[in-house]
Assembly symmetry: C5
Homo-oligomer: 350 residues x 5
């Protein structure tokens, strides 16, 4: 929760950055290309990036650093974006969604990273505006996720240079959604480790790890459930921005989100199972501890009573003066101990 | 449950205040504005507030204090409101909903406050009647939530003065829904504190706090689930009262309720997880306690038996008269103790 | 389950009373009214109640006591009711539902009562046939629930005398559904008591009470879920029996059932939470008990061992003859006890 | 699971009996009737039963014993039934369903029986083919369930002789579905016994019984859920086989399946509750046991230590020679015991 | 998770095998048949298999070994398959699905095998392209699952030679889906063994087996849920590839997937129940252990105290010198022991 409450009472659509500043200098990159050429520019203010070159050139404007609100405002006014969209771009706790504004599509979703050492995952909000002949992406910081795509653009490999701006938008979404697979694979490994550790011998550390996994799965699901809806929304978008050719790719994207969702659901159920297994295992261990105590105590407590009896100082205790008294008592106690052991074995406690 | 049963058997639509009286004096405020001017009035009886000025002037009638039923009746007869609506306004345990009466929309929802010291949250019912050129709001008391909006009206900032009464209605709803974010953020902080405390060392206080959090999440969900439906209902409202321009803002509002609902669901799952973690942790602690007892008892109980043996008063106990008897027994017992410790270490109890 | 199996193999639509006989004498009351006058009759056989007076007079036939099957048969043949409806009327374990037979609506639902002393709630089946100009209600017994409505009819207060038979039907349903609020309020109070008791100190009685509450909530939900569907079915009923004016009231009724359902769901979740809290609390108490035992035992068992050592009767035990031997051992034991206490404090067991 | 895997790799529609043989001799009964007369025949081979008499005579062919596959094949070829239907008839682990083949409806469902002594329930598959002027029923064995219906046919009571073959089909379904109520009532009684036993004192037998109930409820639900869908499918069947008159009865049938489903759901929740109650109760009992141990042990362990002290054989122990030493120690121990008891009472352990 | 992340950043539709190599030599088999003849070929490169013979001959191309990507590429270019389909074929962690490309249907699903010794199940991805006059199947390896079908093709039994390529596609799917029944039957047997073992006496091994079953059920469900959707998708496929005759068989296939899904759901609930039963049983056993300890300890601890008293060495202890002192104390202790036993019996601990 990034202090969404601070905006309470303000005019809807007012531009205020709600989130964490992730880099010092905001940067605006413009890549314009046709099937023949690619040109790249870098600006510090978004104003300088306009106007875009006309068709058939396609422009990708990559706005990095949301704390620089004038950049977002400039893009908004240059392209005629609705104020509520601009507000959403600046508000980094958006729910993934797709809004169809006729002339352009507004897509917002989260990119994921997983820090395998700290067992924590981070998320970064990506907003996309997909219009005729241009795509604008807004990011909190540059984590290098778009580099392979940029390479493909520069090299002219694949369809990316020959298809339209809708395909570029799809390609950006594809990169972000692929980042989930990476995170899920790492979580899957931790899950397997936990399972092995639990079967071996369960201790408190495993409990905390399983707990953290489940918490992460719950939290991930919160991101992925609306993501699924959002991509499904892209499929249904009536806006003409997405051509039929790209719809096939969007369907593929939707399959990916389904797979991600399935995996998260499975993780959730698995970790819940592990927690139950832990509880049962730790119950088992307690029973084992108790059995040990009970066996030792129930054998020796009666014996200790017997030796106590013959430790009494009564003047008149005939057994004490019998010659075989001591050895008789030792024998008696041995017999009692054996009876007890036999009883425990019959009860499957040994 | 505020004694809804007291109304059983009465004519539906009969006006009886069901709730808690939150302030002494009922007040009716009327704010009338166009894009050029704003005029504010304050009355003690709703009757004096009528008639409203005609278009293009827009009137916001803010009725504070529901225990003064004649005020509600006066508004109802002046504006031709259905008796069931008036009954619902007075009944403060309404489920959030939107009813479309063609000429006007009736919206009822709950504003939230969170008392961070007592860890309790309060709710206040807000009813809105959104008609052509006017909005009437009914509140149980004045908690200052609408002050920033009033400021914006007076200052003429943003769209509020230039858009119609539907936008005013939306703005009022927006203020109320934003109050949920504030409450959720505070709950989130308590949740994090609990989590930390549980991982540190779990005690009874944390249990109660987690329990209370979960109870609150369950209870909040009860408010937010129908809220979501209500705002979705606003989107689908066929009444012409809401213009297309405002529908975009309603969609934004709907996104907010989705976000609120997601967060509450996450809190519910998190607190359920915390309860499980608590159970597991407390099980762990019990095992630890039991292990300590078992180790001490299983070492010393057999030893105590041995010393008991040589405390017996039999006349014929040869060992007692051996010179090294005492030290031999001491050594034997030391050996037994070491065996036991080795056994416990092998079992990972130490 | 009231022996529904006894009807197996019989012709569908055969009239057999399945239920418990709640009163000795079956009674049939007929109230006929227009906006000008009200006339009341009481018969012991339903046959005498026909024919009804013609429009605009509206007739309410209140058939009390279902064990008198000829009465039901007489109503059925006089008004042309489908045999399956008559069978359902006599079968007191119906699921709440609305069946639209074109000429008339058949509504069946349960009225609730709560015995606050025995903490048990009872239910009574009410069947309504709503036709043009008449309403027939069938009840197992007379619990006085319809008295306030009768009063309103006699006094001519409210809309009841001026609206049609559909409004009368609605008014009867409203009375029955309001009875749920009463039950829910009483359950809510028991719930609060339980919660307080659990936080104070949990004992077996509270467990049973919480269990019973949850069982009641599960069982209530079974009644209310189809009730909700039934009232929604009334809203969608295509039969012309319900006029547009009354539909607004039906919508209000639907809101009530939603509120009832929400409350029951909340109760269910709350009681489930309470059961978990109970389990955790009782776990806590066990740990506390175990800790006490462990502390006492681990302090005194080693000490008892030591005194046992010096109780041995070996001839050669040098310490026994040292002058300060006794006091030295006492001091040693004091030291051990203090070490133990320090250890327990460090482990937060004290 | 009756070895459905054995059919893997075979041509779909190949006729192989998958199930358990329940009777030695397969029998085919043919009952042909009009409103005026009834004629009954019994054959050992289905071939002899054809052709059916023409309209208005209605024929019910009751094929008992599925292991005699030629009978099924003969029916199939004589009436032109699809091979997949014949395969399904022979495969006794079908899911309840309705398939509409235009000329005829294929309905498959399970009849239930409950062995109240062994607390086990059995199921038998019934397949129905409902066509114009005929109904064919296929059963694994004859459990007498259809006897009352046969009686009604012979006696000409009710509608059965005057309505068409669709009503006959409905009547057969009605008999089967009524068998569920019988089973549910018996389960309900077991459930109540368990509840009482649990509240009294919970032991292992009750646990197993509750477990078995819950398992049965889970398993029953597996049958009833698709049954509900199947009957709903009958309601929606576009085939003209079911006339409008019979649709009213089908709706009644649907109500019955809803009631059955509700009851099973309630049983499931109740048994889950009972398991939780059992767990809590058994926890309680353990705490009680532990408290007893703790009280006894914490009172006597310190006292035993004290008497151990004065059992030591030190030469120099001044207290031993005081005249009132013995009685002083007795008094001291009494005092300690009382302090302990007071402490336990304050902690509500006594 | 088979390293789906490695594809991040690559052009969508690029051909890279993601999975495990299951055999050394990739093989391509071509079976071409009409109702009159069957011809079989085997190639090592897919290129050699083209072109297919023209209608009415039907060709089944069985591509075994996905690591040989040129084969897949060759098929793709020869038949004009969309690049995304080829990518999906090579990616062995697909979700079961059906994609309708107009000219052909792309179906992907998992075949299951169960290793009953290791209690593990394996899955193999099968991709099918069903077009006019041909079916191409892509498999990771050859597990002999299609042998019976091949036999039927060669022998000309059943419909397979007379129906079109759509029926061949259906027959392949049918084989794969039947493999689930086999796995489920084996799981069912393990489940029954576990249940018996749990009721007998629960130990750690059973716990692990139940855990593994539940994990498998969760994991299976992940496969079967989308399988169900996929087969339902086949039913709705608007492509003309599937003729009306085959649709009846697809409906049968859908019934099978429903039955599989029901069974898995039941297994899930059953194993969850078994886990709960285990927990309760192990709780019971702990209580039994504790009771034994408590009974022994509470009987002997007080007695040991008494004998300790008379083991004290006070000079002045009058009882010691009474003639009947020793026997009196023995009698007293016997009495105390009997009182204790009576008390335990009254509490139902014995």
């Amino acid at each position: 929760m990034e202090r969404a409450s601070e905006k309470a009472g303000m005019t809807p659509g007012s531009l205020l950055f709600v989130g964490e500043k992730r880099l010092d200098e905001a940067v605006v990159r413009r890549i314009t290309y046709t099937s023949d050429w690619v040109r790249e520019f870098e600006f510090s203010a978004a104003n300088d990036a306009f106007p875009f070159e006309s068709a058939p050139a396609i422009t990708w404007l990559d706005v990095i650093g949301l704390h620089e609100t004038p950049n977002i405002e400039a893009v908004g006014s240059a392209l005629g974006i609705h104020p509520l969209v601009l507000e959403d771009i600046l508000h980094t706790s958006q729910r993934p969604k797709v809004d169809d504004y006729g002339d352009y599509l507004y897509v917002v979703l989260k990119g994921l990273t997983f820090d395998s050492e700290a067992h924590e995952f981070g998320s970064q909000q990506l907003s996309l505006i997909i219009g005729w002949g241009f795509v604008v992406s807004f990011r909190e910081g540059d984590n290098g996720a778009f580099l392979p795509l940029l390479e493909r653009l520069r090299a002219g490999r694949g369809r990316i240079r020959t298809y339209g701006s809708d395909y570029l938008g799809y390609a950006l979404l594809d990169v972000v959604i692929d980042s989930y697979f990476h995170v899920l694979e790492q979580m899957g490994e931790v899950l397997e480790d936990c399972e092995e550790a639990l079967v071996g011998h369960p201790d408190r550390d495993v409990l905390e790890q399983v707990y953290r996994l489940q918490r992460d799965a719950v939290s991930l699901r919160r991101h992925v459930w609306p993501l699924r809806e959002a991509v499904a929304g892209l499929q249904r978008a009536e806006s003409g921005v997405l051509s039929g050719d790209v719809q096939v790719f969007i369907r593929d994207l939707y399959d990916h989100t389904l797979r991600i969702f399935d995996t998260i659901e499975t993780y959730r159920e698995m970790t819940a199972l592990l927690l139950e297994l832990y509880l049962s295992s730790s119950n088992n261990r307690m029973t084992e501890v108790m059995k040990t105590l009970t066996i030792i105590a129930t054998i020796f407590i009666p014996l200790t009573f017997i030796v106590g009896v013959y430790g009494m100082n009564f003047a008149n205790m005939p057994e004490l003066h019998w010659d075989w008294g001591y050895f008789g008592v030792l024998g008696l106690m041995l017999g009692i101990a054996f009876c007890m052991l036999w009883y425990f074995r019959r009860k499957h406690w040994l």
